[in-house]
Symmetry: C2
C-alpha cells in the first residue's frame, strides 16, 4: 500500500488544503495508491502485442532524416520511412529517462515534481473555440487566451499554467507561440508549456526561457514542456519528431501523446488501442533519449471512443476511463512519469452531461496514477471549445481532488476514540472538543456548489451551477492581479519577440 | 488481480451489454477488482478503534427487551439499555452470516446474487419530495412512487426495483407499506424491498411475499430486503431492531446502515466516523445472526460530510467517496456483502453540480466493491427529493458503469495484432475487418448524451441534458408495459391488503 509518512511541512500544507477551498500546494503528493485493475498475465499480453506491432508492422517516421539516422544507429531496422524495432530495444533505450524530475517555475515556490507519487493539474489545451453563457461559441482570441491564464493563476486548485489553452486565432499562426509563451510568463508564475507546431517555434519557446531563467540554468534544469502528438496509427510526423528532439536537445521535457479514437486511428477494442498507444509512445519517448540520454520525458496517452452509428467521437465514456487505468500500470512498468486522461466531454453546455462525463474522465486520470494531468479544466464540445463556465466548475472539481488524493488519515486523533467516550451514545458531536479542534479543516469546501436547504436556495433565485460559474469567472477576472516580473527580463523578452516577428511575414495557416 | 474467466453465457451477456445501451443482465459480475486504498496497519487501527468503542463506550438498544436478552445470552455486558461487547465477540457471531446469497425475483430470470463480485443497482430510497422540470418540488404521492417503479422497470440499467423510492405522502403512514409492496410486485418483476418502519409492517411485507412466492419458498429463500438505520451515534432504536429481527427470523435479508453526517452523528474526522460505523454495523449484523444464525444480511454504510460554516450536510464530496473505499476493505475482511454509497448530491436541479457530485459519489460505490448499490438513481436536494430528470441521467450513468465494470478484455482478438498488419501505418481503421466485426458492440452507447457536432446540436435547438431527460421520462412512462402477474396471486394480495387496511384507522404521522 501507498501510505507514507509526511513531513511536518507537508502535513500542515495538507491541513490547509481542506480549508475554505484554498489548496495552495505547488503540487499534490498522493496519499492513496493508483488503481491497478489488470493482472500480470494480461499486462504481459498487451506488452507482447506492442512488441509485435513494433517489430512486425513498424512505425513510419516522415520528414525527419535525423530521426531515421538515430534509429538506424540504435539498432532498428529502417526501410525507407518505415522503422521496425527488435523486441526489447525500446525498453533498453528508455532506461536513461528519469522516473521523476522537477519543472521549475519562475517563482521557485511553484516549481513542481513530475513523476512518482506527485500529481499536477494543468488547464485544457488546444481548442480553436471558446464559449461562455453570454456570447456562445466563437473563435478564441489572444484576449481569451490571456483570460484563461489569469483564471488558472487565480485558482489555488491548479499547479501549472498550461500551454495552448485556446488557439489565439487573431494572431498569425507563425507568431502565436511568441505571444502565448510571453502571456504565460507575464500573467502566471507557475510552470508552463511551449510551442511544438514547428521546430523553430519550439526553439523560440526554449529561447524565451533562456531569457527568463538564464541559459546555464536551462541547460541543467527543466523549465518548459512541449506536448507532441503521434499521427496515429503508427506514424510520427517530422514536425513532431523535430520538436520533441528540440526539447530533448535542450534538456527540456517532451510529452509524448498518441491520440487514438478507437475505430478510427486504432482498433475499436480497448486492448488493441492500448497496445498501439504503448508502441507509439515508447517510440517517441525513446527518440528523446537517443537525442539526449537522460532528458526528461513524459509517457503520454489519450484514449477515446466513438459513437459507432454516427462516427462521432465520444468523450468521458467508460471504456477510455477504464483503459486509462491499464495505461497507468504500463507506464509504471516503464518507470516513466505519466500524462493520461483529463476532463473530457462532448457536451456543448456546462450541464449535467458535461460534468457526468467530465468527472468520470477526470477521476480516471486520478486513479490511473497520472502525474501531469493536462486538460484538467475547461473543455466542452469534444475538445473543440474552452468554456469559461466549465473552467470554473472543473477548477472546483480539481479542488475536491486535492482532498480525495489525501486519502484517509489514521492516527489516534483522527480515530477520535476519546470523543466517543466524551459524547456517548445518542448525543451529537457538534460542540465536542474533537469537533471544535477540527471543524475548520475537516472537509473540503466547494466554492461553487450550493449546499443550502431548498427553501433558502429558492429564495435566492433558484440559481443553477452554470450561472454561479458564470458569475465566478467574471469576479475572478476583475480581481486578478499579475505576479511581479523583473522589468529587465520583461524588456529582454519583448525585444526577442519584436526581433523574431520582424523577420517573418504573417502566416494564417 | 481480479480477472476471472467467464462462461460463454456471461460473455455473450457482456457483449450484448455494450450494444445500444441495452444491458439486460440480471446483475453485474465485476471484472475489475475493488480499489483498495488503505494499508494493513491502518485497517487494523480502525478495527481496533471500533473494538474499543464497542467495549468501552458501548451501544444503546432502546425499546427491545428481546434484543437485550439475545446480547446477554451471547456474552455481551448489558447494563440497562447499554450493551458493551468484549473484543472479538461480534466477529465471532458474524461467522454464520453468508458471504453471498440470492435474492429471488418473481421473474426467475431477474433473480440476483448479492455478495462476492456481483453488483446490483437499485433506485434511490426515502425522499419525501419529488421534482420535475415542469412542476418543481412537491410532496411525493403514490402516483409518483408507481411512476418511478415503472421507469426503473423500463430501464435495462437497473437490477432491482428498490423500496421506498419516494414517500407516498397521500397514503396514511400506517398503510403505505401495503401499497408500496403491492406496487413493486405489480409493476416490476425484479427483486424489491419491504417496509421497516414498524415490526408489523415488516411482517406484512414478508407476508405479501409469502402470497407471491409461497410460504415454503420464503422460509428457504431470500425474496425481500429491509433497510434498517442505526440512530447514530451508537443507538439502535427498537423499531429498527425489531424490524431487522423480523426479517432475519423469516430468513430475509436486513441491510444494516448507520447514517453518519461527520461532525453531527459522528466525529468530523473520516477515520473516527469509519470506526464508529464499523462498530454500529457489526452490532446490527450480529443481531440478525443471534435471531437466526445463517440469515442473509448486508453490511451497510452511509458516510457524508458537512459544510462546517453552515452546518448543512454535503453530499458527493471527496471525503465520503474516499472513505467508502475503506469501508469496502473492512466489509471484505468480515466476508459480508456490502451496501455503500450511491448517487448523492445537494444540488436542487439536474445541473452540472448534480452530476459532478453524483458521479464522484456513484463511482465510489463502484470502486469500494459495493454489492448492493441503493440510491443508484434519482436523488437531488441532499436526499430530500427524487427528481424525474435526475433519475434518467443517473440511469444512463448506471448503463455506463456496466461497461466500466466489465474492464478491459485481453485476448488475441481484442489485441487486434492482425488488424495492424492489415491496416498499416497511417491508414484508418474505419472499414477494416476487425472494426467491422466489433463496431456494433465495441462501446457503450449513451441514451441521453449528445455527441453530435456543435452545428448539428445547435440546429436541433441547443438542448441541454436536463431537457433531454425530461422528454425521456415522459416517453418511457407512455411506453411502459406492466409485466404479467398471475391473477390468483394478484387477488390474494389485494385481499390481504384490504383485510389489513380494514383493521386500522388512518394514521398520518
Amino acid at each position: 500500500m501507498n501510505e507514507h509518512r509526511r513531513s511536518g511541512r507537508q502535513a500542515r500544507q495538507a491541513e490547509r488544503a481542506h480549508k475554505g477551498g484554498g489548496m495552495g500546494r505547488p503540487y499534490i503528493t498522493r496519499n492513496i495508491p493508483p488503481y491497478d485493475i489488470m493482472g500480470e498475465e494480461s499486462l504481459q499480453k498487451i506488452e507482447a502485442a506492442a512488441d509485435r506491432i513494433l517489430a512486425e508492422t513498424g512505425i513510419e517516421f516522415r520528414d525527419d532524416d535525423t530521426a531515421l539516422d538515430l534509429w538506424r544507429k540504435a539498432g532498428a531496422e529502417v526501410d525507407g520511412l518505415l522503422v521496425k524495432f527488435p523486441p526489447g530495444m525500446l525498453r533498453e533505450v528508455l532506461k536513461t529517462a528519469p522516473a521523476q524530475f522537477t519543472q521549475h517555475a519562475r517563482n521557485p515556490a511553484n516549481s513542481i515534481q513530475i513523476g512518482g507519487k506527485n500529481v499536477v493539474f494543468s488547464p485544457a489545451y488546444g481548442s480553436p473555440f471558446v464559449m461562455d453563457l453570454d456570447k456562445g461559441r466563437r473563435f478564441g482570441t489572444i484576449e481569451d487566451f490571456r483570460n484563461f491564464i489569469k483564471l488558472a493563476q487565480s485558482s489555488p486548485n491548479f499547479h501549472h499554467s498550461g500551454g495552448t489553452i485556446c488557439e489565439p486565432t487573431d494572431v498569425p499562426v507563425n507568431k502565436r507561440h511568441l505571444d502565448m509563451v510571453m502571456s504565460h510568463i507575464e500573467l502566471s508564475d507557475r510552470p508552463f508549456m511551449g510551442s511544438v507546431t514547428a521546430e523553430e517555434r519550439s526553439e523560440d519557446s526554449i529561447d524565451m526561457c533562456r531569457i527568463l531563467f538564464g541559459s546555464d540554468f536551462v541547460e541543467q534544469n527543466c523549465v518548459i514542456l512541449g506536448n507532441v502528438n503521434v499521427n496515429s496509427p503508427l506514424v510520427w510526423d517530422g514536425t513532431m519528431t523535430k520538436s520533441l528532439r528540440a526539447y530533448a536537445r535542450s534538456n527540456q521535457a517532451a510529452v509524448i501523446v498518441p491520440f487514438i479514437l478507437g475505430g478510427a486511428m486504432g482498433p475499436v477494442t480497448s486492448a488493441g488501442a492500448i497496445a498501439q498507444s504503448l508502441a507509439e509512445t515508447m517510440a517517441g519517448c525513446a527518440l528523446t533519449q537517443l537525442e539526449r540520454p537522460g532528458a526528461p520525458v513524459i509517457f503520454g496517452n489519450f484514449l477515446s471512443s466513438m459513437a459507432m452509428r454516427s462516427g462521432s467521437p465520444t468523450f468521458g465514456t467508460p471504456e477510455p476511463a477504464i483503459g486509462s487505468m491499464v495505461i497507468g500500470q504500463l507506464a509504471r512498468r516503464l518507470n516513466l512519469p505519466l500524462r493520461c486522461a483529463g476532463n473530457f466531454t462532448t457536451s456543448k453546455l456546462p450541464d449535467a452531461q458535461a460534468m457526468m462525463e467530465g468527472t468520470m474522465s477526470m477521476l480516471s486520470a486520478i486513479h490511473c496514477g497520472a502525474n501531469f494531468i493536462l486538460h484538467s479544466a475547461g473543455f466542452l464540445d469534444g475538445l473543440l471549445s474552452m468554456s469559461y463556465e466549465k473552467f470554473m466548475l472543473d477548477a472546483d472539481l480539481c479542488g475536491a481532488l486535492h482532498a480525495y488524493l489525501d486519502g484517509v488519515k489514521v492516527d489516534d486523533d483522527a480515530l477520535a476514540v476519546d470523543a466517543f467516550a466524551e459524547v456517548g451514545p445518542g448525543n451529537h458531536f457538534f460542540g465536542c472538543s474533537h469537533t471544535m479542534a477540527h471543524y475548520e479543516t475537516a472537509f473540503w469546501d466547494s466554492e461553487l456548489s450550493d449546499n443550502d436547504p431548498f427553501e433558502k436556495w429558492e429564495a435566492a433565485g433558484s440559481v443553477d451551477a452554470a450561472t454561479r460559474a458564470n458569475k465566478a469567472w467574471k469576479r475572478k477576472l476583475a480581481e486578478y492581479q499579475a505576479p511581479a516580473l523583473d522589468e529587465g527580463i520583461r524588456d529582454g523578452l519583448n525585444d526577442f519577440i519584436a526581433k523574431r516577428k520582424e523577420g517573418m511575414a504573417d502566416a494564417w495557416y
